[in-house]
């Protein structure tokens, strides 16, 4: 079970960096799909099948919604800003470093909230052993991932545009959801649905903004 947690965390980390750093919008969406699906599995123990279904369905719906905005965004970028797609916002090395820094900050938060037993303590029963008695709990992993996701999504959220900003918005909200689960434990079934709807509504709004930018008059602030 802990191996699944670790693998899911790695998928979230790699997928989210790919989602924001990839030059190709479609590759970015594949990364986002991996990150969102992985985030649904970051739990120990794994949630019930129905809850997993809600999380995975939301993840795939979000990617489908954003995918709907991709052709338009890509076409517009090629005609107006041909170099944009080829140049990631920060570049993957910077995204990785930012993510690591955010992850460490998340672990530090977990360490501050001592009862979450992040590292070096005796660990919770479900903690992952890091050797020499050091353990890391699922809650600490969730907070670390939340910190990492916030760190890499904020720059694109503030100064990005189009699909990259939409992806960043989704990742930022996913970070908040991971932090919420890390702090207070697994949500009730109804809250799971509401959190999935929150992610979906942010994705839909961001996709609308990205698509609206495609048809904006040249030179307007919509573009």
């Amino acid at each position: 079970m802990t191996a699944v947690l670790l693998a899911a965390a790695l998928v979230v980390a790699i997928g989210s960096v790919a989602a924001l750093a990839a030059g190709d919008a479609r590759l970015g969406l594949v990364g986002l799909a991996a990150a969102l699906v992985g985030a649904g599995l970051v739990a120990d123990p794994l949630p019930a099948a129905a809850i997993l279904g809600v999380r995975l369905t939301a993840a795939l719906l979000i990617v489908a919604v954003l995918r709907g905005a991709v052709p338009a965004v890509a076409a517009r970028r090629r005609s107006i800003e041909p170099e944009v797609d080829a140049q990631p916002h920060l570049g993957w090395p910077a995204e990785v470093l930012l993510g690591l820094a955010g992850g460490v900050a998340g672990l530090a938060v977990a360490a501050g909230l001592e009862v979450l037993t992040p590292l070096g303590g005796t660990g919770t029963p479900s903690g992952i052993s890091l050797g020499a008695g050091a353990t890391i709990s699922a809650a600490a992993v969730e907070l670390a991932l939340a910190g990492g996701l916030v760190a890499i999504s904020l720059p694109a959220l503030v100064s990005g545009a189009g699909l990259r900003r939409a992806t960043a918005a989704v990742l930022a909200v996913e970070a908040a959801i991971l932090a919420r689960i890390g702090l207070a434990g697994p949500p009730a079934a109804l809250e799971e649905i509401v959190l999935a709807v929150l992610l979906l509504s942010v994705a839909a709004a961001a996709a609308v903004f990205a698509a609206a930018g495609r048809t904006a008059p040249e030179g307007s602030r919509l573009a």
Partner: protein, 497 residues
């Protein structure tokens, strides 16, 4: 069970209306109107309190939930009727219903984290859909994405902040100790500081969500960009629901931890509230365009509600609930009035609306009801709530002074009424009679045949034509009715105080 039905009907019809809106605006508007009517009917028909358990979450109705649902659904319905005449119904009724459904879920829930998340999820559409609709209607308008992004951020970020604050409160380190119990170490300075900071974070979330000063820019840009019909769902009712949930969380946290805001925190909250009350009141007086008068009136109302966070007592929380529900209903009527006045006279500037009341007396009746509903008189819930909130946060002369400053809508809204009795401005004089809210085409000929001789078929045939010909009258009656609803809620409040 009834609360579940209200949520389901509002969310279902609102989503259907939103999805149909871009391609079939007429059908979207009708579905929205039907949904609003059904929601209103269910809410009025439901008696007393009822509860619904979904998993481990209990959704319980209460007088506040019921009154918010009644006021909001009535607003959505009547604003939709006005929107069918003036335009804009397709992009406003659906998102308003979705936000209503989400807010009903949030207010009825015993889980504050769920409540904050629901408010964030349900409020996004009320910002994005009307902004997009305004942009699609006039693609030369450049900065609408900026407006929509800031507006969506102002809805989502406070919701996320509330979600995290509630999660921290329920975590093993929080004041609810993970089990709803009281944390033992309330004397620990670190815990007291953390609770105080969490309360300030939630109060700051309320400031951002409601567009209170200094976070008013998104609200000012939003009200200047969209149809006035979209403003109540996004700003008035939406921020009222958020403030009620935030007050609920803050009250439960302070009582669980036995810790309230310290003097510095209270000072900060009161300063922000006073800034919103004074500066937004001044802005509402100085602005010439009606949409900004409405927007800043709502911002001022949010500032008054914010005063409840300074004390977090049971009586001030009840006063805040009275205040929020009453002002949301009254400002909804004001939004409808502005949309109709703009459609009737072709202008939205007070300086160009001289003599409007003489040309459209029915609109004058609505405006008078709105003025009384927004300001109130002693004995009305809205007036007493204003006094209670101001004097509890600032006792003595300062509180009395704040009450006087908070009465500035007398001038901001009253000057519109005063302008109405003057000599007609050219724009007002040129308004076509068909738009003045008078009976243009009487439904004559009823005596030609009784119902038994084809009269019913004739009535069914002629009624739509008569309604279409008298659309301005129908819209005016809707505005008057909404003014009366606002007045009624201003008189009664939530009845909890």
């Amino acid at each position: 069970m009834t609360i579940g039905l209200v949520i389901a009907v509002a969310l279902g019809s609102g989503l259907a209306s939103m999805l149909l809106g871009p391609r079939r605006p007429r059908a979207a508007a009708w579905i929205g109107l039907a949904g609003a009517l059904a929601t209103l009917a269910i809410t009025i028909a439901s008696g007393g309190s009822d509860a619904l358990t979904v998993g481990t979450v209990t959704l319980a109705s209460s007088p506040v939930v019921r009154l918010v649902a009644v006021g909001w659904s009535a607003s959505a319905l009547l604003l939709g009727v006005v929107g069918r005449v003036t335009g804009g119904a397709a992009t406003t009724v659906g998102p308003s219903l979705v936000a209503l459904g989400a807010s009903s879920l949030a207010l009825a829930s015993d889980d504050h984290g769920l409540a904050f998340a629901a408010l964030a999820a349900g409020g996004v559409g009320a910002i994005v859909a009307p902004t997009l609709g305004a942009w699609l209607a006039d693609r030369e308008e450049a900065p609408l994405t900026t407006v929509a992004v800031r507006g969506a951020g102002a809805v989502v970020m406070p919701g996320v902040a509330g979600l995290l604050a509630a999660a921290w409160g329920r975590s093993p380190s929080g004041p609810l100790g993970g089990s709803g119990g009281v944390l033992g170490a309330v004397d620990d300075p670190g815990v007291r500081l953390a609770v105080g900071l969490a309360l300030l974070v939630v109060a700051a979330a309320v400031v951002v969500r409601s567009g209170a000063i200094p976070s008013h820019l998104w609200a000012a840009r939003f009200v200047g960009s969209v149809t006035p019909l979209a403003i109540p769902a996004s700003l008035a009712w939406g921020s009222a629901a958020f403030t009620l949930v935030a007050l609920g969380w803050s009250a439960s946290t302070t009582s669980a931890a036995g810790v309230a805001l310290d003097d510095a925190g209270r000072f900060l909250v009161v300063v922000v509230a006073i800034a919103s009350i004074a500066l937004a009141g001044l802005a509402a007086i100085l602005h010439d365009d009606l949409e900004h008068v409405l927007g800043y009136t709502i911002v001022q109302a949010a500032g008054i509600a914010l005063l409840a966070f300074a004390t977090l007592r049971s009586d001030t929380n009840h006063a805040a609930a009275d205040w929020l529900v009453a002002t949301a209903a009254a400002t909804s009527a004001m939004a409808a009035w502005i949309a109709l006045a703009r459609w009737t006279f072709g202008t939205h500037r007070v300086s160009e609306l001289r003599g409007w009341a003489r040309r459209s007396p029915a609109l004058a009746i609505a405006a008078a009801a709105i003025l009384v509903g927004v300001v109130g008189v002693p004995g009305m819930a809205v007036f007493d709530a204003r006094v209670s909130l101001a004097t509890s946060a600032l006792p003595g002369v300062l509180g009395a002074g704040l009450v006087v400053v908070a009465l500035s809508p007398v001038i901001a809204v009253g000057r519109i009424l005063v302008a109405g009795v003057g000599r007609a401005a050219p724009e007002v004089a040129a308004a076509p009679r068909e738009r003045l809210g008078v009976l243009v085409r009487p439904a004559g000929g009823w005596s030609r045949g009784g119902l038994s001789r084809g009269g019913l078929a004739w009535a069914l045939r002629v009624t739509p034509a008569v309604v279409r010909a008298n659309a301005a009258l129908v819209a005016t009656l809707a505005v008057v009715l909404l003014g009366v609803v606002g007045l009624a809620l201003a008189v009664t409040g939530t009845g909890a105080g």
